[in-house]
């Protein structure tokens, strides 16, 4: 892993460059659609057969990540794929916040519950991102997970 590249990543301003989407390849999007649709199918069918709590497990299954990380590695190198995956860990903590919020509010008002659950995901994963970035926790995590190599 290129430590300097990861340090630079944490110094780059946060934002969105929508012009990058012009470069999005239809075949890559199709792969993501197939894996995403596939895991939704697994969740729905296993929920019908083994019960909804079992099916619900697959709503937080990393079905698309291997394809995403492999594509990033191919185009931009392993360090960039690693950076994406390290953000994914924080997104996953946000997923727990999403599920928890939905659980608390679904019975009261399902539409508001799902909207607030999405907001909870955004705030928790985004908040953790800035915490990890500003305090250097990302770099400590990089060191910890790569040191035995």
């Amino acid at each position: 892993m290129d430590g300097r590249q990861l340090r630079d990543d944490d110094l780059e301003p946060v934002g969105f460059d929508w012009s990058k989407l012009r470069k999005a390849s239809p075949s890559e999007l199709l792969i993501r659609f197939v894996f995403g649709g596939g895991i939704a199918l697994v969740a729905a069918i296993s929920g019908s057969v083994f019960g909804p709590r079992f099916g619900g497990l697959f709503l937080a299954f990393p079905a698309v990540l291997p394809a995403t990380l492999t594509l990033i590695e191919k185009k931009e190198g392993t360090t960039k794929a690693w950076a994406d995956a390290s953000g994914g860990v924080l997104g996953a903590i946000g997923l727990a916040a999403f599920a928890f919020t939905a659980l608390q509010l679904l019975r009261a008002n399902p539409v508001v519950a799902l909207a607030l659950a999405l907001l909870a995901w955004l705030l928790v994963s985004g908040g953790l991102y800035f915490l990890f970035r500003e305090t250097g926790l990302f770099l400590k995590q990089d060191k910890l997970l790569t040191q035995s190599h």
């Binding site: 619900g56 990393p62 997923l95």
Partner: protein, 113 residues
């Protein structure tokens, strides 16, 4: 659940994944973009359809399962980082699925299905 609704869940789940992945693709830097790799795309589509189909109370167990699954997802993320460093993205990120199955499956068995 009818076949049509299962198909609708798959279709909307696929579109939601593509939508969030486009946001991720536009996002920078890479670690920030990575947050969108673990966005609740399939969850949002599936829970919304489950609410419409069966009502809010019947949807709660799906969200309970998802909470357990998200613990597996955190484990997956950490293990995939360790494995990617040794085996590269494709092999590492697929082998890390074992961590998801171990943690999500283990918790599911402990908490009770």
């Amino acid at each position: 659940m009818s076949t049509a609704l299962i198909g609708l869940k798959a279709l909307l789940g696929g579109f939601a994944v593509v939508g969030f992945s486009l946001i991720g693709q536009a996002g920078h830097p890479k670690r920030f973009a990575g947050l969108f790799s673990a966005a609740p795309s399939v969850a949002l589509a599936s829970l919304a359809i489950a609410v419409i189909d069966k009502g809010a109370s019947a949807t709660l167990p799906y969200a309970q399962g998802m909470l357990i699954g998200s613990a597996g997802m955190v484990a997956y993320g950490l293990v995939s980082l360790v494995l990617m460093n040794r085996l590269h993205a494709l092999v590492g990120s697929i082998l890390a699925w074992l961590a998801w199955f171990a943690v999500a499956g283990g918790l599911y068995l402990v908490v009770g299905g």
